[in-house]
Protein backbone atom coordinates (compact mmCIF):
# COMPACT_ATOMS: atom_id res chain seq x y z
CA UNK A 1 0.00 0.00 0.00
CA UNK A 2 1.59 3.19 -1.11
CA UNK A 3 1.23 6.51 0.60
CA UNK A 4 -1.11 7.82 -2.08
CA UNK A 5 -3.44 4.95 -1.35
CA UNK A 6 -3.43 5.79 2.34
CA UNK A 7 -4.40 9.31 1.38
CA UNK A 8 -7.21 7.95 -0.71
CA UNK A 9 -8.51 6.13 2.35
CA UNK A 10 -8.02 8.83 4.98
CA UNK A 11 -9.62 11.65 3.06
CA UNK A 12 -13.03 9.99 2.48
CA UNK A 13 -13.11 9.01 6.13
CA UNK A 14 -12.60 12.61 7.17
CA UNK A 15 -15.20 13.66 4.62
CA UNK A 16 -17.81 11.28 6.01
CA UNK A 17 -17.03 12.25 9.58
CA UNK A 18 -17.54 15.93 8.88
CA UNK A 19 -20.76 15.23 6.99
CA UNK A 20 -22.19 13.16 9.83
CA UNK A 21 -21.24 15.83 12.32
CA UNK A 22 -22.81 18.51 10.16
CA UNK A 23 -26.08 16.63 10.28
CA UNK A 24 -26.01 15.79 13.95
CA UNK A 25 -25.22 19.21 15.45
CA UNK A 26 -28.17 20.96 17.00
CA UNK A 27 -26.44 24.29 16.67
CA UNK A 28 -26.93 25.33 13.06
CA UNK A 29 -23.89 27.58 13.10
CA UNK A 30 -21.70 24.66 14.09
CA UNK A 31 -23.45 22.68 11.40
CA UNK A 32 -22.54 25.33 8.84
CA UNK A 33 -18.93 25.25 9.99
CA UNK A 34 -18.89 21.49 9.62
CA UNK A 35 -20.35 21.85 6.18
CA UNK A 36 -17.56 24.27 5.31
CA UNK A 37 -15.03 21.72 6.52
CA UNK A 38 -16.75 19.07 4.45
CA UNK A 39 -16.68 21.16 1.33
CA UNK A 40 -13.03 21.95 1.99
CA UNK A 41 -12.17 18.28 2.23
CA UNK A 42 -14.35 17.51 -0.77
CA UNK A 43 -12.37 20.03 -2.74
CA UNK A 44 -9.17 18.35 -1.63
CA UNK A 45 -10.63 15.03 -2.68
CA UNK A 46 -11.47 16.42 -6.12
CA UNK A 47 -7.98 17.76 -6.21
CA UNK A 48 -6.32 14.42 -5.63
CA UNK A 49 -8.73 12.81 -8.07
CA UNK A 50 -7.12 15.01 -10.73
CA UNK A 51 -9.99 17.41 -11.23
CA UNK A 52 -8.53 20.86 -10.49
CA UNK A 53 -11.32 22.50 -12.49
CA UNK A 54 -13.93 21.15 -10.18
CA UNK A 55 -11.74 21.79 -7.17
CA UNK A 56 -11.61 25.48 -8.00
CA UNK A 57 -15.35 25.61 -8.48
CA UNK A 58 -15.94 23.76 -5.23
CA UNK A 59 -13.48 26.09 -3.52
CA UNK A 60 -15.16 29.20 -4.77
CA UNK A 61 -18.63 27.91 -4.06
CA UNK A 62 -18.12 25.75 -1.02
CA UNK A 63 -15.64 27.88 0.85
CA UNK A 64 -17.36 31.13 0.34
CA UNK A 65 -20.80 31.35 -1.18
CA UNK A 66 -22.46 28.31 0.43
CA UNK A 67 -21.32 29.08 3.95
CA UNK A 68 -22.07 32.74 3.44
CA UNK A 69 -25.65 32.19 2.41
CA UNK A 70 -26.27 29.60 5.10
CA UNK A 71 -24.98 31.99 7.73
CA UNK A 72 -27.03 34.83 6.30
CA UNK A 73 -30.08 32.57 6.48
CA UNK A 74 -29.30 31.60 10.08
CA UNK A 75 -28.84 35.23 10.95
CA UNK A 76 -32.19 36.12 9.50
CA UNK A 77 -33.93 33.25 11.25
CA UNK A 78 -32.77 31.46 14.36
CA UNK A 79 -29.66 29.69 15.35
CA UNK A 80 -30.71 26.70 17.37
CA UNK A 81 -32.57 23.73 16.06
CA UNK A 82 -35.48 23.31 18.44
CA UNK A 83 -37.22 19.97 18.64
CA UNK A 84 -39.61 19.25 21.39
CA UNK B 1 -8.87 59.49 -11.17
CA UNK B 2 -5.51 59.13 -9.48
CA UNK B 3 -6.99 56.35 -7.39
CA UNK B 4 -8.10 54.62 -10.55
CA UNK B 5 -4.65 54.83 -12.10
CA UNK B 6 -2.99 53.53 -8.96
CA UNK B 7 -5.37 50.60 -8.71
CA UNK B 8 -4.98 49.82 -12.38
CA UNK B 9 -1.21 49.75 -12.09
CA UNK B 10 -1.44 47.47 -9.07
CA UNK B 11 -3.83 45.17 -10.95
CA UNK B 12 -1.56 45.10 -13.94
CA UNK B 13 1.45 44.15 -11.85
CA UNK B 14 -0.51 41.32 -10.25
CA UNK B 15 -1.64 40.18 -13.69
CA UNK B 16 1.92 40.12 -15.00
CA UNK B 17 3.05 38.15 -11.97
CA UNK B 18 0.28 35.64 -12.43
CA UNK B 19 0.86 35.06 -16.10
CA UNK B 20 4.64 34.83 -16.09
CA UNK B 21 5.72 31.38 -17.15
CA UNK B 22 9.42 31.57 -17.72
CA UNK B 23 9.12 33.21 -21.10
CA UNK B 24 8.44 36.79 -22.00
CA UNK B 25 4.78 37.78 -21.99
CA UNK B 26 3.07 37.63 -25.35
CA UNK B 27 1.27 40.61 -26.80
CA UNK B 28 -2.07 38.94 -26.23
CA UNK B 29 -1.39 38.60 -22.53
CA UNK B 30 -0.38 42.24 -22.27
CA UNK B 31 -3.46 43.49 -24.10
CA UNK B 32 -5.79 41.30 -22.09
CA UNK B 33 -3.96 42.38 -18.94
CA UNK B 34 -4.38 46.06 -19.68
CA UNK B 35 -8.04 45.65 -20.50
CA UNK B 36 -8.82 43.62 -17.41
CA UNK B 37 -6.71 45.84 -15.18
CA UNK B 38 -8.78 48.79 -16.30
CA UNK B 39 -11.93 46.86 -15.42
CA UNK B 40 -10.45 45.90 -12.06
CA UNK B 41 -9.34 49.46 -11.50
CA UNK B 42 -12.84 50.76 -12.10
CA UNK B 43 -14.29 48.16 -9.77
CA UNK B 44 -11.81 48.56 -6.94
CA UNK B 45 -10.70 52.19 -6.98
CA UNK B 46 -12.88 53.28 -4.08
CA UNK B 47 -11.88 50.52 -1.69
CA UNK B 48 -8.27 50.05 -2.60
CA UNK B 49 -6.89 53.55 -2.40
CA UNK B 50 -7.69 55.62 0.63
CA UNK B 51 -4.75 58.00 0.39
CA UNK B 52 -1.57 58.24 -1.63
CA UNK B 53 0.99 57.71 1.06
CA UNK B 54 1.88 54.28 -0.19
CA UNK B 55 2.85 55.70 -3.58
CA UNK B 56 6.13 56.81 -2.05
CA UNK B 57 8.83 54.27 -2.99
CA UNK B 58 10.70 55.00 0.21
CA UNK B 59 7.94 53.33 2.14
CA UNK B 60 8.28 50.20 0.07
CA UNK B 61 12.00 50.13 0.79
CA UNK B 62 11.23 50.42 4.47
CA UNK B 63 8.76 47.61 4.11
CA UNK B 64 11.35 45.32 2.60
CA UNK B 65 13.83 46.28 5.27
CA UNK B 66 11.20 45.52 7.85
CA UNK B 67 10.81 41.93 6.71
CA UNK B 68 14.11 40.95 8.30
CA UNK B 69 13.35 41.82 11.93
CA UNK B 70 9.81 40.68 11.35
CA UNK B 71 10.86 37.17 10.42
CA UNK B 72 13.20 37.06 13.34
CA UNK B 73 10.38 38.01 15.68
CA UNK B 74 8.07 35.56 14.04
CA UNK B 75 10.46 32.68 14.48
CA UNK B 76 10.89 33.68 18.10
CA UNK B 77 7.12 33.77 18.48
CA UNK B 78 6.72 30.30 17.16
CA UNK B 79 9.33 28.82 19.39
CA UNK B 80 7.62 30.64 22.20
CA UNK B 81 4.31 29.05 21.31
CA UNK B 82 6.00 25.71 20.91
CA UNK B 83 7.37 26.07 24.40
CA UNK B 84 3.95 26.90 25.75
CA UNK B 85 2.25 24.11 23.88
CA UNK B 86 4.65 21.60 25.29
CA UNK B 87 4.83 22.88 28.84
CA UNK B 88 1.37 24.38 29.14
CA UNK B 89 2.66 27.42 31.06
CA UNK B 90 0.40 30.33 30.29
CA UNK B 91 -0.50 33.52 32.04
CA UNK B 92 -2.88 35.22 29.65
CA UNK B 93 -4.67 38.53 29.69
CA UNK B 94 -6.03 41.23 27.46
CA UNK B 95 -4.15 44.52 27.73
CA UNK B 96 -4.79 47.90 26.21
CA UNK B 97 -2.06 49.72 24.39
CA UNK B 98 -1.73 53.09 22.76
CA UNK B 99 0.78 52.84 19.98
CA UNK B 100 0.03 56.39 18.94
CA UNK B 101 -0.62 55.70 15.29
CA UNK B 102 -2.87 57.91 13.23
CA UNK B 103 -3.98 56.02 10.13
CA UNK B 104 -5.97 52.83 9.79
CA UNK B 105 -3.43 51.39 7.41
CA UNK B 106 -0.64 51.75 9.92
CA UNK B 107 -2.83 50.28 12.62
CA UNK B 108 -3.65 47.32 10.42
CA UNK B 109 -0.02 46.84 9.68
CA UNK B 110 0.81 46.88 13.34
CA UNK B 111 -2.05 44.63 14.34
CA UNK B 112 -1.20 41.97 11.81
CA UNK B 113 2.44 42.13 12.79
CA UNK B 114 1.51 41.77 16.43
CA UNK B 115 -0.70 38.81 15.68
CA UNK B 116 2.14 37.01 13.98
CA UNK B 117 4.76 37.74 16.61
CA UNK B 118 5.61 36.67 20.16
CA UNK B 119 2.79 35.61 22.35
CA UNK B 120 0.38 38.32 21.34
CA UNK B 121 -2.83 38.53 19.37
CA UNK B 122 -4.69 41.73 18.57
CA UNK B 123 -8.29 41.42 19.65
CA UNK B 124 -9.92 44.78 19.15
CA UNK B 125 -9.43 48.42 18.40
CA UNK B 126 -11.36 51.48 19.35
CA UNK B 127 -11.92 54.92 17.94
CA UNK B 128 -8.75 56.35 19.49
CA UNK B 129 -6.65 53.82 17.62
CA UNK B 130 -5.86 51.91 20.77
CA UNK B 131 -5.16 48.23 20.41
CA UNK B 132 -6.44 45.56 22.73
CA UNK B 133 -3.98 42.73 22.72
CA UNK B 134 -4.36 39.25 24.05
CA UNK B 135 -1.08 38.46 25.66
CA UNK B 136 -0.33 34.87 26.36
CA UNK B 137 2.23 35.56 29.08
CA UNK B 138 1.47 38.86 30.74
CA UNK B 139 4.50 40.65 32.13
CA UNK B 140 3.96 41.58 35.77
CA UNK B 141 5.88 44.80 35.27
CA UNK B 142 3.56 45.94 32.55
CA UNK B 143 0.48 45.49 34.68
CA UNK B 144 1.53 48.11 37.13
CA UNK B 145 1.55 51.06 34.78
CA UNK B 146 -1.79 52.22 33.56
CA UNK B 147 -1.08 53.41 30.05
CA UNK B 148 0.52 50.10 29.29
CA UNK B 149 3.97 50.21 27.79
CA UNK B 150 4.30 49.16 24.20
CA UNK B 151 7.78 47.78 24.40
CA UNK B 152 7.21 44.29 25.77
CA UNK B 153 4.40 43.54 23.38
CA UNK B 154 5.39 44.98 20.08
CA UNK B 155 9.07 45.86 20.46
CA UNK B 156 9.87 48.24 17.63
CA UNK B 157 6.89 47.59 15.44
CA UNK B 158 5.08 50.91 15.94
CA UNK B 159 8.18 52.68 14.73
CA UNK B 160 8.28 50.56 11.63
CA UNK B 161 4.59 50.95 11.11
CA UNK B 162 4.94 54.70 11.29
CA UNK B 163 7.72 54.63 8.75
CA UNK B 164 5.98 52.28 6.36
CA UNK B 165 2.37 53.18 6.43
CA UNK B 166 1.76 56.53 7.99
Amino acid sequence: MTMIEIIHIVLPVLLIASAIVAVLFKDLLASAISLAVMSLLLSLEFYILEAPDVAIAEAGIGACITTAIIIVAIKKTERMEVEE
Amino acid sequence: MLAFIGTTIFCFIVWLTLTFNGHMWGTDEIIAGIFLSVVGGIAARKVFVKDFKMANPKRWLFFIAYLGPFFYQMAKANFDVAYRVITGKINPGIVKMSPGLKSDTALTFLANSITLTPGTLSVDTDDEKNLYVHWINVDEEALKKMPRPCEPVCSTFPKWARRVAE
Binding site: D53, I56, G60, C64, I65 | G26, A44, D104, L107, A111
Partner: protein, 162 residues
Protein backbone atom coordinates in the same frame (compact mmCIF):
# COMPACT_ATOMS: atom_id res chain seq x y z
CA UNK C 1 -23.47 32.95 26.24
CA UNK C 2 -25.33 36.12 25.66
CA UNK C 3 -25.25 38.05 22.45
CA UNK C 4 -24.11 41.53 23.24
CA UNK C 5 -25.73 44.33 21.40
CA UNK C 6 -22.79 46.67 21.20
CA UNK C 7 -21.71 45.56 17.76
CA UNK C 8 -24.52 47.22 15.95
CA UNK C 9 -22.36 49.17 13.57
CA UNK C 10 -22.25 47.88 10.05
CA UNK C 11 -19.28 45.95 8.86
CA UNK C 12 -16.35 44.67 10.82
CA UNK C 13 -13.38 46.28 12.52
CA UNK C 14 -11.21 48.84 10.66
CA UNK C 15 -8.41 46.31 10.41
CA UNK C 16 -10.63 43.94 8.47
CA UNK C 17 -11.81 46.80 6.32
CA UNK C 18 -8.30 47.80 5.36
CA UNK C 19 -7.26 44.26 4.55
CA UNK C 20 -10.44 43.64 2.58
CA UNK C 21 -9.87 46.76 0.57
CA UNK C 22 -6.31 45.65 -0.04
CA UNK C 23 -7.12 42.19 -1.32
CA UNK C 24 -10.28 43.13 -3.20
CA UNK C 25 -8.47 44.14 -6.43
CA UNK C 26 -6.23 41.16 -5.90
CA UNK C 27 -9.17 38.75 -5.89
CA UNK C 28 -10.75 40.58 -8.81
CA UNK C 29 -7.64 40.27 -10.94
CA UNK C 30 -7.26 36.66 -9.94
CA UNK C 31 -10.84 36.03 -10.94
CA UNK C 32 -10.23 37.69 -14.30
CA UNK C 33 -7.14 35.56 -14.68
CA UNK C 34 -9.12 32.40 -14.03
CA UNK C 35 -11.84 33.51 -16.44
CA UNK C 36 -9.56 34.53 -19.28
CA UNK C 37 -7.29 31.52 -18.97
CA UNK C 38 -10.24 29.18 -18.71
CA UNK C 39 -9.29 27.38 -21.87
CA UNK C 40 -5.68 26.94 -20.79
CA UNK C 41 -5.57 26.31 -17.06
CA UNK C 42 -8.13 24.94 -14.65
CA UNK C 43 -10.98 27.32 -14.28
CA UNK C 44 -13.22 29.11 -16.63
CA UNK C 45 -16.19 31.37 -16.60
CA UNK C 46 -18.00 29.78 -13.73
CA UNK C 47 -15.04 29.30 -11.42
CA UNK C 48 -13.71 32.77 -12.05
CA UNK C 49 -17.16 34.20 -11.68
CA UNK C 50 -17.59 32.49 -8.33
CA UNK C 51 -14.28 33.95 -7.17
CA UNK C 52 -15.25 37.42 -8.35
CA UNK C 53 -18.62 37.12 -6.69
CA UNK C 54 -16.84 36.08 -3.52
CA UNK C 55 -14.88 39.32 -3.67
CA UNK C 56 -18.12 41.29 -3.69
CA UNK C 57 -19.47 39.07 -0.93
CA UNK C 58 -16.39 39.94 1.07
CA UNK C 59 -17.15 43.62 0.63
CA UNK C 60 -20.69 42.94 1.80
CA UNK C 61 -19.51 41.37 5.01
CA UNK C 62 -16.61 43.71 5.65
CA UNK C 63 -18.26 47.02 4.86
CA UNK C 64 -21.91 46.18 5.43
CA UNK C 65 -24.61 45.34 2.94
CA UNK C 66 -26.10 48.79 2.79
CA UNK C 67 -22.75 50.39 2.20
CA UNK C 68 -22.07 47.94 -0.61
CA UNK C 69 -25.47 48.48 -2.10
CA UNK C 70 -24.73 52.15 -2.63
CA UNK C 71 -21.76 51.21 -4.79
CA UNK C 72 -23.15 48.23 -6.59
CA UNK C 73 -26.87 47.88 -6.14
CA UNK C 74 -28.77 44.71 -6.79
CA UNK C 75 -30.27 46.28 -9.89
CA UNK C 76 -26.85 47.03 -11.31
CA UNK C 77 -25.62 43.53 -10.60
CA UNK C 78 -28.69 42.01 -12.20
CA UNK C 79 -28.16 44.19 -15.24
CA UNK C 80 -24.59 42.99 -15.36
CA UNK C 81 -25.85 39.43 -15.23
CA UNK C 82 -28.32 40.07 -18.04
CA UNK C 83 -25.64 41.55 -20.22
CA UNK C 84 -23.48 38.50 -19.64
CA UNK C 85 -26.30 36.14 -20.57
CA UNK C 86 -27.18 38.16 -23.64
CA UNK C 87 -23.57 38.17 -24.77
CA UNK C 88 -23.43 34.41 -24.40
CA UNK C 89 -26.51 33.79 -26.50
CA UNK C 90 -25.53 36.38 -29.07
CA UNK C 91 -22.18 34.71 -29.60
CA UNK C 92 -23.95 31.38 -29.87
CA UNK C 93 -26.43 32.76 -32.38
CA UNK C 94 -23.66 34.40 -34.37
CA UNK C 95 -22.50 30.82 -34.85
CA UNK C 96 -25.14 30.09 -37.40
CA UNK C 97 -25.10 33.46 -38.98
CA UNK C 98 -21.33 33.45 -39.51
CA UNK C 99 -20.89 29.70 -39.84
CA UNK C 100 -22.94 26.55 -39.99
CA UNK C 101 -24.54 25.88 -36.65
CA UNK C 102 -25.61 27.32 -33.38
CA UNK C 103 -22.56 27.74 -31.16
CA UNK C 104 -20.14 26.77 -33.87
CA UNK C 105 -16.66 28.06 -33.34
CA UNK C 106 -16.55 30.65 -36.09
CA UNK C 107 -13.50 32.47 -34.77
CA UNK C 108 -11.00 29.70 -35.48
CA UNK C 109 -8.20 31.01 -37.63
CA UNK C 110 -9.21 34.64 -37.27
CA UNK C 111 -7.21 37.35 -35.53
CA UNK C 112 -9.19 37.30 -32.30
CA UNK C 113 -8.55 34.19 -30.25
CA UNK C 114 -8.02 32.34 -33.48
CA UNK C 115 -4.50 30.99 -33.17
CA UNK C 116 -4.18 27.25 -33.43
CA UNK C 117 -1.83 26.06 -30.69
CA UNK C 118 0.90 23.46 -31.22
CA UNK C 119 0.15 20.01 -29.96
CA UNK C 120 1.79 18.83 -26.78
CA UNK C 121 2.98 20.50 -23.66
CA UNK C 122 3.07 24.24 -24.06
CA UNK C 123 2.89 27.05 -21.58
CA UNK C 124 -0.45 28.17 -22.94
CA UNK C 125 -1.13 30.83 -25.48
CA UNK C 126 -3.94 33.15 -24.57
CA UNK C 127 -4.90 33.96 -28.12
CA UNK C 128 -6.45 30.56 -28.80
CA UNK C 129 -9.74 28.86 -28.37
CA UNK C 130 -12.02 30.69 -30.78
CA UNK C 131 -15.28 31.66 -29.12
CA UNK C 132 -14.44 29.84 -25.91
CA UNK C 133 -12.75 32.80 -24.17
CA UNK C 134 -15.65 35.04 -25.14
CA UNK C 135 -18.16 32.53 -23.83
CA UNK C 136 -16.09 32.20 -20.68
CA UNK C 137 -16.09 35.93 -20.31
CA UNK C 138 -19.85 36.09 -20.75
CA UNK C 139 -20.41 33.32 -18.23
CA UNK C 140 -18.03 35.05 -15.85
CA UNK C 141 -19.99 38.29 -16.07
CA UNK C 142 -23.20 36.41 -15.52
CA UNK C 143 -21.94 34.50 -12.51
CA UNK C 144 -20.33 37.52 -10.86
CA UNK C 145 -23.55 39.45 -11.26
CA UNK C 146 -25.87 36.63 -10.35
CA UNK C 147 -24.21 35.20 -7.27
CA UNK C 148 -23.35 38.52 -5.72
CA UNK C 149 -26.87 39.78 -6.38
CA UNK C 150 -28.24 36.70 -4.63
CA UNK C 151 -26.12 37.20 -1.53
CA UNK C 152 -26.77 40.93 -1.50
CA UNK C 153 -30.50 40.40 -1.79
CA UNK C 154 -30.45 37.85 0.99
CA UNK C 155 -28.37 40.12 3.20
CA UNK C 156 -30.76 42.99 2.66
CA UNK C 157 -33.88 41.10 3.69
CA UNK C 158 -34.65 42.52 7.09
CA UNK C 159 -35.65 40.30 9.94
CA UNK C 160 -39.02 41.71 10.75
CA UNK C 161 -38.91 41.44 14.50
CA UNK C 162 -35.72 43.44 15.10
Amino acid sequence: MSEKTNGNSEGLSPIVKVISGMIFPFIMIFSFYVIMHGHLTPGGGFQGGAIGASAIVMLIVAFGARHTEKRAGEEKLSLFESIGGTLFILVAILGFIMAATFMSNFLVGSAIFGEIPPFGSNPGILNTGGILPILNFAVGMKVIGGLSAVVLAMALVSKEDD
